[in-house]
Amino acid sequence: MQFKSRNFDASPVALTAENLTVTLPDTAGQPQVLNNIDITIRQGETVCLVGESGSGKSVTSLAIMGLLPEALQVTQGRINLEGRDLLPLTQVQMRELRAARVAMIFQEPMTALNPVLRVGDQIMEVMELHTELSAAERRARAIAIMEQVHLPDVPRIFRSYPHQLSGGQRQRIMIAMALVLEPVLLIADEPTTALDVTTQKQILSLIAELQRVHGTAVLFITHDMGVVAEIADTVYVMRRGEIAEHGPVEQLLRQPRAEYTRELLTAVPSLSPRAPRPAGDEAVLQVTDLNKIYGGGGLLRKLPETHAAKDVNFTLHRSRTLGIVGESGSGKSTVARCIMRLIDPSSGQILLDGKDIASLGRNALKPHRKKLQVVFQDPMRSLNPRWKVADSLIEGPLNYGTSRREALAEAGRMLEFVGLPEGSLRRYPHQFSGGQRQRIAIARAVMMRPDVLVADEAVSALDVSVQAQVLSLLDQLQQELGIAIVFITHDLRVAAQICDDVIVMQQGVVVEQGSAAEVLVHPRHDYTRTLIEAAPGRKWDFQNFREMTEVNHADPA
């Protein structure tokens, strides 16, 4: 693993935050959101701010930008940008400073860009507000910066609207807008979290390249330790509004001093696949030549068709986990939804315990539904917010004739099994954390005693430490109940942790399938190799604080 090891002690300081404290003045007890934060960022340096959700990393960036919501207040401390204290500045002065001296890019470029303006005009607008340049000069500079962020066919993209661009291109536009005025400091708040790994890799190297050229200081906020290992010079680990530890990246990853850093690092799933388990012989789910075509039809003329899943074949045995891996648009969720019969497959067979359910009608399907359950990605939305947990849990059993009393008793046992406190039955979903809600969603699915559990990105919205707990819960359930799991994920680390077999999908087509050990260690298809190569921090063994000792995952180089 090649860490960045440049020394910045001689470089001029771009930004310091000293004793920065932010509180919620209107809330009882005036809770502190940030507590005495000290951060120093030097010119040309990349500082990573890592932490789980709620740790205060975004509040820190907003405080620096002077964009704190009204409910939050800086009660103490200083923020110096090139020696000038930002806190006493007025709104107008701060607005002048933003964009010109400090710029920010966000997680979701689609919402950060104005959907009704051409992107070229949006870049020019930044200069119009902050410089005296003529229209022609602004245009020339906008085109120059668009070339610097390596956008293809600049004249065309200049005239495009945000929705006409891909996610990666939109993020490039955001970066262009941020850097066009040559700011001293660029704050990047999870800028690659919404992107596919291959795009993430490109964006990360773009930021590094521009940083070299312009000497910008970068404050990079992320929850992904892999990204940290790739790009950071200095790392600040945040927890509950405090800095738990900070130091040069290599030192922090090799010899973490704070207990919390240790926990965070050991929770990062390893890219080396799990030890292979003996294959069972009882096939519970067998998918043959599954196809799903969207569109087509139309009353007067044929509408364009999208082949979202093409000739998908696989067999899943009892007590085993099959991973379906791919980037957005690869068709992995389409396959999952076809199996669940939430959508109707265009052709093919889905044999569940030997019975084809691909073309069953709604009523004929009902007895089979029980054997197939699902856990979704977003734990906020997968439980009805108006229902008590108990009602959500017993909904399924009641549909299949279990008495209310029995179902409630079972719900109590199940909650205990997934590790939720007693009394949770009478509470509402919003009273639980994301991880707890995902446990409830799993409990709801397992209440039906399914043969197959489809987990659609079931841990993607969770923090790494919670992710590890939920993964081990799934593993435990599998061992005790013999459930077979179809695990849909974009995250190769998670796939390596939980899957026995892996299917790699690209644009609706299965490009490679086999045991996890085979596919992830000796990939045969180029696309699989690209995916593995793009996984950030893949050469570092986070759990053991050292390089990956043996090459037990692919090394495409």
């Binding site: 999870e190 029980k370 979704f376 009805n384 549909n399 919003h430």
Partner: protein, 291 residues
């Protein structure tokens, strides 16, 4: 990684949101005014000083005097009693029209939002209904069935239904994409069960708000229909009928129109204020945008 904020309304049972103590000053006054109008109208037969139909040829078009606090009309009938009694029928028609259109609209909207096949047909029918002006429909119905309360309610309800249907359908279309609805499908819940237990509660909050607007508009339309002579029979006192009769003597005695007009305006204003307050509470983001 910040978690999306839950709408406040989703967190608590709907009715807990409507606490009087949460209202601002304007809506509080509206509650008082509306309660007064409703109570007076309901109790009018016991509390009105005179029989609203009793004529007194000797004291016609008189100003305020003893026994007639607001004076008399062109037949010598007591204006105060007529206005109080008139509110009864106006409110009755308004409330009934609002309730009927909300209930019918809710059912049609749920079906249209949930069943893709039915959607296209239902919505085209709703478009057609929406194209019928209430006044024209009322005149047609009254011409066919004669002036009656039923005709008036039908004339007000039919054009309101599509508005409610559109609202409910939009809410259902958004809610049916929620993963918890798909999870319910996977749990083997039947379509009607999903509709009633998962989707219906989502529509209640916007429906309460829409209901107040329908109520206000129904009361107004009733008055308008009566005024034009297309409403309930002219001898029945309603605010619209009283104004229609008063129109003839507007130059001599403007209060004939003034008093029922004031009652009508206060009533509509209060209902709309309450509707706005309810909307602000159920969706605080709207309030912020408007303010």
């Amino acid at each position: 990684m910040s978690q999306p904020a839950q709408p406040a309304a989703a967190m608590q049972p709907i009715l807990r949101v409507f606490r009087l103590s949460h209202f601002g000053l304007g809506p509080k006054i509206a509650v008082v005014v509306l309660s007064l109008i409703v109570i007076c109208s309901i109790l009018a037969p016991w509390f009105a000083p005179h029989d609203p139909l009793q004529m007194d040829p000797l004291s016609r078009l008189k100003g305020p005097m003893e026994g007639h606090p607001l004076g008399t009309d062109n037949y010598g009938r007591d204006i105060l009693s007529r206005v109080l009694i008139g509110g009864r029928l106006s409110l009755y028609i308004g409330i009934l029209a609002a309730v009927v259109s909300v209930i019918i609209g809710l059912v049609i909207g749920l079906v249209a939002g949930f069943y893709r096949m039915a959607d296209a047909i239902i919505m085209r029918m709703m478009d057609a209904l929406m194209a019928i002006p209430a006044i024209l429909l009322a005149i047609a119905l009254v011409a066919l069935n004669g002036p009656s309360v039923t005709s008036v309610i039908a004339a007000i309800t039919i054009p309101e239904i599509p508005r409610v249907v559109r609202l409910v359908r939009a809410v259902v279309l958004a809610a049916r994409e929620e993963p918890y609805v798909e999870a319910a499908l996977a749990l083997g819940s039947s379509m009607p069960k999903i509709l009633i237990r998962h989707l219906l509660p989502n529509t209640l909050a916007p429906l309460i708000v829409q209901g107040t607007y329908v109520l206000a508009s129904a009361i107004l339309t009733e008055a308008l229909l009566s005024f034009l002579g297309a409403g309930v029979s002219t001898e029945t006192p309603t605010w619209g009928n009283i104004m229609a009769e008063g129109r003839l003597f507007f130059r001599i005695k403007p209060d004939l129109i003034l008093y029922p007009g004031i009652m009508l305006s206060l009533c509509i204003l209060s209902i709309n204020l309450l509707g706005d307050a309810a909307r602000d509470m159920l969706d605080p983001r709207l309030k912020k945008r408007a303010g």
